[in-house]
Symmetry: C2
Amino acid sequence: MQKIDDSKLKHVLMAECDYGSLFGSNIAKHAQLMKFSPQEYIVKNQVKPDYLFYLVRGKAKLYDFLANGKDTLVDFFTPPCFVGEMELMDTQSEPFSVQVIDDCYCLALPVAKYKQQLLADPVFLRNVCLYLAHKNARNIKTASQNQGFTLSQRLSAFILLTSHDGRYHEKHTQVAEYLGVSYRHLLYVIADFVKAGYLQKDQRSYRIKDEAGLQNLAWEVNLSNEWHEKASDA
Amino acid sequence: MQKIDDSKLKHVLMAECDYGSLFGSNIAKHAQLMKFSPQEYIVKNQVKPDYLFYLVRGKAKLYDFLANGKDTLVDFFTPPCFVGEMELMDTQSEPFSVQVIDDCYCLALPVAKYKQQLLADPVFLRNVCLYLAHKNARNIKTASQNQGFTLSQRLSAFILLTSHDGRYHEKHTQVAEYLGVSYRHLLYVIADFVKAGYLQKDQRSYRIKDEAGLQNLAWEVNLSNEWHEKASDA
DNA sequence: CACTAAGTATGAGAAATCTCATACTAGGAG
DNA sequence: CTCCTAGTATGAGATTTCTCATACTTAGTG
């Protein structure tokens, strides 16, 4: 972790994510810009963070470590989003680990100094509630999909979701963790996709050869989502 | 659903869960007492609730319905807890289903009338944040345990958790849903437990014969929890 | 350049879990 | 009392997913 004293950059980032509007008061100006490098922890298992972070650039992942040594990648953090808000709200709460994937820039407010103020600010509280509610809904969706669908189904949905220009190139190791299956099994299913002609491997990435085929497999998974999206359009 | 106009009962229940202290204003007095019977929905999939509920008696379950017809029992609601708070915070959000298990008594505030007021009340907002944060943490725990541990492990933890006086009697159908496995598989594992001498079936319920054996199996699962509980004691 | 860590790949065998079929039982509704 | 539903039970066979072992490749580091 590295504090960055570049007030120009700080203001650009703040403007970009409309940081000031998260609060009812002018507290935003006390935020400190920080940079975290890949592999670093923004919040570490069991260690209460000293700051309330707001991720404005980069990508991180939320882990839960189980006692049997296994870990689960629970969720991804993509900007803009809070990090460490659970611990701010509830001193009792047990921090999960948030580990950096790509360089992360965070706006950080020292908890000790501003906690009181934040907890009395309805604008801020409303934003946190909203954020928590969304996060929770997403988690529930993911978890129940992990249980209700087979890996081929979830993987095809995932490939369609994360591919650009007809190419899929995510790290298998990470994807396996996210989809909650063993690396080995993921590789099997990908091999199947290649055999079935859905994907074609070229060097470092995969090219989508039969999007319709994948759509078809992903159909039910996506249906479960659209469903809700439609509902919220109403 | 049935509105209950028994102001004595209402006040007893309010006192019991300290309802008034959830709010910064005196809004509590506008709450209406309602009763829901088993199988009824407090919040139904895709239908925005008209009230903000606070469950004070009974038991309910949170479902997510998937497009392939499968459903996942995501979480149990036990008093005291909010129901419908997601939908209050975010009009966009897609309601999940909350279905009654045992008779539920709820204190209900009409959203249309008091939404503005609630969203400006820091005391209330703080409580919702806290509630959401806890709920989220629990969901994450459950989900990652569902993935990281085998059914025997989770089931033994579950049995130890829900048994009274050395007896276990939950409905297999519900437990299967909650633990995210097929009814069939659950029965297999229970049969194994009986064979292994952990449980003994008598009529309608099971008697725990070898608690140590179960403890042993549940060991890692519980470790993952205690861990966090310890952490939050600190 | 050699060493190391992370990511990629693949095989073999085992386990966890699922689906489908089929029965039996208890309690509520008519 | 009979019908119906929900819950309980058990078998057979198929899928899904896991663990372990083993290798090869690539990028970074001293």
